[in-house]
């Protein structure tokens, strides 16, 4: 099968201190409960890792987390594929949109249309597409400053995001947020946070709301799931652990998705972390930790299905570590000198879009021509987004002072413009003490 990892016989030339997945066997697989695919939570709360390593040394980061059922499927004939044609085309389109959008951002930045800090997502599209395309509209996504593609995948129109990046009044935040702060209430994209680790507690709060609504406000059908995306550097931050604890304690419907691209600006993950295997930090708090190849959208999708399903059923949080890579520097201002060119070449050879294209064509889900049509359409969409953003006006001066407070004058004034406490009905109250 085209997406299995067996084609890499030797590990890439990392430093000798590497402890990437092929050195230590990944023996803990929370989803391989041995019985049913949809295992019960009791089985997932291990304290000790399983001993038997079912891991072949020459597999580089094979998907350990996919259940037996799916693995058997892979070994059978092509009749049982992981995706249908529609799903395949949807995934392809989404990833190509993410890539084209980010490439256009780089172009626009160097032409001076975009400014400030811009962090691009090239190379990591499999993670966002694999997860976000499984969500409903009411589910929430919270991200970091590398959030353009999360917003676009979730459904925010590309033109709105591009205008926001240009700082125009038609942007999704009317030009007030910028590259790092993409918010959309309609699509439940809650940002966009510049401080790493800041989004994780907010995501946990959104998951908390879902549970609160179901249990306290008695909205029976509220099963919204929250996805929190963050990187490997964040996994050393205190807030991350605080939220793993509380999410597991209160069984919140959240999935913590780690986009482990090995580098936090110029700090290698291996230099910064005592135990670089992030998925292991889940079981320490009582939630399952899963490691998956983040350059392969189909593998990510399989893991995502299970994790999101768990959250939706009320079984609690999951920590998913996606091993991925960013093809560009940390931001457009980053000279990116510290990364080994051989490492970059290695991952460039594992481009998720190329891999999916190969899979689709080899399994005859669609023709090359159809894929080319998609690429062309996406190019047009992105071009149109740029034209729209260019043509949009800058925010008016009066917008500077707007939206500081939800109540316009900030004096506790109600929507009718009067002081709330002067409204005679206000003091009637509904309180029964």
């Amino acid at each position: 099968m085209s997406f299995s990892a067996t084609k890499f016989a030797q590990p890439p030339p990392f430093s000798s201190t590497t402890t990437r997945s092929n050195e230590k066997p990944l023996s803990f697989d929370p989803f391989k409960t041995g019985t049913s695919f949809l295992g019960s939570t009791r089985k997932l709360r291990f304290n000790s890792l399983c001993e038997n390593a079912q891991f072949k040394p020459h597999h580089r980061s094979a998907v350990v987390a996919v259940s037996e059922l799916v693995k058997e499927k892979k070994l059978k004939s092509n009749a049982n594929l992981l995706i249908t044609k529609e799903e395949g085309l949807e995934l392809y389109e989404d990833m190509v949109l993410g890539r084209a959008f980010e490439d256009m951002c780089a172009q626009m930045y160097y032409r001076g249309k975009m400014f400030g800090f811009v962090h691009l997502y090239n190379g990591q599209e499999a993670v966002s597409t694999g997860f976000i395309k499984l969500l409903k509209k009411e589910d929430s996504v919270i991200s970091t400053y590398r959030d353009h593609v999360h917003a676009v995948s979730k459904g925010v129109p590309a033109r709105a995001v591009m205008s926001e990046l240009f700082g125009k009044a038609t942007g999704c935040c009317r030009g007030q947020g910028g590259s790092m702060h993409m918010f959309s209430k309609e699509h439940n994209v809650l940002g966009g946070f510049a401080f790493i680790g800041e989004g994780i507690p907010v995501a946990t709060g959104a998951a908390f709301t879902s549970k609160y609504r179901r249990e306290v406000l008695k909205e029976e059908d509220c099963d919204h799931v929250t996805l929190a995306f963050f990187g490997d550097g964040t996994c050393n931050n205190g807030q991350f652990f605080e939220c793993l604890n509380m999410a597991a304690l209160w069984k919140l419907p959240i999935v913590f998705v780690v986009e482990n691209n090995l580098w936090a600006i110029g700090m290698s993950h291996l230099r910064a972390t005592s135990d670089p295997e992030i998925w292991k930090k889940g079981p320490a708090f009582g939630l399952p930790g899963v490691h998956v190849d983040g350059m392969d959208v189909l593998k990510v999708r399989e893991v995502a299905k299970e994790a999101i399903g768990r959250a939706r059923r009320g079984e609690g949080p999951t920590l998913v570590e996606c091993e991925t890579y960013r093809f560009r520097g940390h931001s457009l201002a980053d000279p990116d000198e510290l990364r080994d060119p051989a490492e970059k070449a290695h991952y460039a050879g594992r481009d998720p879009i190329t891999a999916l294209k190969k899979y689709i064509i080899e399994n005859k889900l669609a023709s090359e021509q159809e894929l080319k049509t998609i690429e062309k359409t996406i190019d047009e969409v992105v071009e149109e987004a740029v034209e729209f953003a260019d043509a949009s006006p800058q925010p008016h001066r009066s917008q500077l002072l707007e939206n500081v407070f939800a109540d316009p004058k900030g004096f506790g004034i109600g929507p009718d413009g009067q002081y709330r406490c002067e409204d005679p009905k206000f003091t009637e109250g509904t309180a029964h003490v």
């Binding site: 907010v202 205190g238 939220c243 004096f411």
Partner: protein, 366 residues
Amino acid sequence: MWGTIRLNVCTGRSPARGLLSGLSAFRGYSSSGKEMTVRDALNSALDEEMSADPKVFLMGEEVGEYQGAYKISKGLLEKYGPERVIDTPITEAGFTGIGVGAAYYGLKPVVEFMTFNFSMQAIDHIINSAAKSNYMSAGQLSVPIVFRGPNGAAAGVGAQHSHCYAAWYASCPGLKVLSPYSSEDARGLLKAAIRDPDPVVFLENELFRSQFQQEALDSSFCLPIGKAKIEREGKDVTITAFSKMVGYALKAAENLAKEGISAEVINLRSIRPLDRSTINASVRKTNRLVTVEEGFPQHGVGAEICTSVIEDSFGYLDAPVERIAGADVPMPYAANLERLAVPQIEDIVRAAKRACYRSVPLAAAA
């Protein structure tokens, strides 16, 4: 020189009750007097708001089974259950962020910090995710959250537990900062804060827990945010204060009255938005200003009031603005040093006299 009068915060009623002016327009003010401690006032406000709106919930350390670290949330766990009165682990950053995330979706969390000193572990969420979100998202996400807890110096708790955060939070746009003095303030402002659609930092004061004050109460009483209250009218000098210092200022005003100086005491109530119009109107009437606060002097609330008055009413000032603040040192532990580090009534009296050119006994009256 600093005097030996030690304020006993457990005695006495506020002397200026009878001189309430009708400045703030609170209609729900019935005249049936009732005494209530500030602690009970806060508890009743929380109780009423939680019963009126199921989206209000309380979260913090020891708020549930311990009945509140300072007993503010007494009885609430029994009434509303553990889903609405949530005991959290000791993770300020984590649970404050959770509160903000819940507020993004329209729930109304009341996040309690055991003291505001611990809010420093969560200040990233208070400022960056709560205060700035409405602006960054251009109005899409409002954050109807209340952060409350005791603020400022207590008795003998040392430097890390005695910091006053009024100036810190009040400098940030997007936050509303309230600081009640009396039980009436506490009830009215907390209810207003919970009903408000924006993030509110509610700075209570530990030492008020046992102060008895006569209050007029209505079952759904609410005070407007952004309006100061003139606790005592006067014509010679204006003294502004908030929280515990209002009590000191009122006592100082009494002492000054004996010497023929009529002081007007303003209880700020709301640090952000600051009620500049009330302060300026008062200064235009009296022509002298003394600002009193417990926190550190540099970049403090008094500095902001002074600038506001200079910008708007410079021509009306007859004397330089006097600023009384805590000593510019971390709070010492020894009882006598602690007394020296916090403003006392004599300091306020002395400052008022300086403003009135009365510090030299034989000088002519202003």
